[in-house]
């Protein structure tokens, strides 16, 4: 099963690192990118996004605020917050929003774990 994944990060480097990891782990999945919350919400409402990965520290609306907005329309979508900000408050706010927390620098193992879990959840929802 192939899925469409939205990556939201204001940093081009971070999006490149993510795309590079996807080509190793899930080369057949479709990746779309957004650089801010507005573009991310637009993509989610128009492009049938299955999974979203969101950076935390972005100008304007931050990643956790964005996940809060996504949850209003997509309460079950697999979402991960990706950040080097490993403070307990950030991780627990991500969990409260039913999002997985992935630490930066990104590793293939951490991303692969999230994507496997997400794929299982999406498969079970279809059944």
């Amino acid at each position: 099963m192939q899925y469409r994944v939205l990556v939201v990060d204001d940093s081009k480097l971070a999006r490149m690192v993510m795309a590079s990891a996807f080509r190793r782990i899930r080369a057949d999945w479709e990746l779309i990118e957004a650089t801010n919350a507005t573009d991310a919400l637009e993509a989610i409402s128009t492009q049938a996004v299955d999974i979203t990965l969101v950076d935390f520290n972005m100008p304007g609306t931050d990643g956790l605020e964005l996940v809060g907005l996504i949850r209003k329309t997509h309460p079950k979508m697999p979402v991960a917050v990706v950040s080097a900000n490993v403070q307990t408050e950030i991780i627990s706010r991500a969990r409260e929003l039913n999002a997985v927390f992935i630490a930066k620098p990104l590793t293939d193992e951490a991303l692969a774990g999230f994507l496997s879990g997400a794929a299982l959840r999406l498969k079970n929802e279809v059944k």
Binding site: S11, L13, M58, S83, N85, Q87, E89, P105
Partner: protein, 216 residues
């Protein structure tokens, strides 16, 4: 060397900001554990500016009386990392680390040592993350505490041989529920910027190669 160091390309600026952001975010967790409150961070700003302009930026909060913990680092590129607070907040920071039960005299006694140790934890976490991401080794000096205005912190009017333009990267932070705010800043002189540009270019090429290598 023909690299233009007076300007950073968009991707160079992006890579440096993102890697520094990782470093500072990791460092914020160290500070969070020390003060017991969440540390809020701004998005990083990266610019090549004069030392004077860097000095004005850190005084922008309205206070020119600053206290900073600084550590020099050396490696493929060298520079200085600084943790900067308005001087008036230095005791509040120390109090939030050692606990409210201590007397003002104790806090004043502890101030210098506590600042140096805090700076050491935070700046090391920041630079170690940056070094690890770039797969470089960096040596750090011991922390020193410096008091004065922005000009003193950034060596304005010091040895002109040091050059006036620097790469200045800073992130504001605020400790939630406490009257504590400050900056984490990295300062690189121009030869270091030239070296950093080469490392950044190789780093980006490495990301692209990793992905292609696996497919092929």
């Amino acid at each position: 060397m023909t690299i233009d160091v007076s300007a950073l390309s968009e991707i160079e600026q992006d890579v440096i900001a993102e890697i520094a952001n990782m470093g500072v975010s990791r460092a914020a967790n160290g500070l969070r554990q020390m003060v017991g409150h969440e540390v809020l961070l701004s998005v990083p700003a990266v610019n090549v500016v004069t030392r004077e302009a860097a000095a004005r930026l850190v005084e922008r909060g309205g206070s020119s009386k600053l206290v900073a913990v600084q550590q020099s680092f050396e490696g493929p590129f060298s520079g200085r990392a600084l943790l900067i607070f308005p001087a008036a907040q230095s005791l509040e920071l120390v109090r939030s680390i050692v606990g409210d039960e201590h007397s003002l005299e104790d806090i004043i006694d502890l101030e210098h040592e506590a600042l140096a140790e805090t700076g050491n934890v935070i700046l090391n976490a920041c630079l170690a993350t940056i070094a690890n991401v770039l797969r470089q080794t960096m040596r750090m000096s011991l922390p020193t505490v410096v008091r004065g205005d922005g000009d003193k912190l950034f060596g304005v009017q010091s040895d002109p041989a040091e050059g006036n333009l620097v790469l200045f990267l800073y992130i504001d932070f605020t400790v939630k529920n406490r009257e504590i705010r400050g900056f984490i800043a990295l300062l690189l002189d121009l030869p270091a910027v030239a070296a950093l540009k080469v490392i950044v270019r190789d780093f980006v090429a490495g990301i692209e190669q990793q992905a292609e290598g696996h497919v092929g």
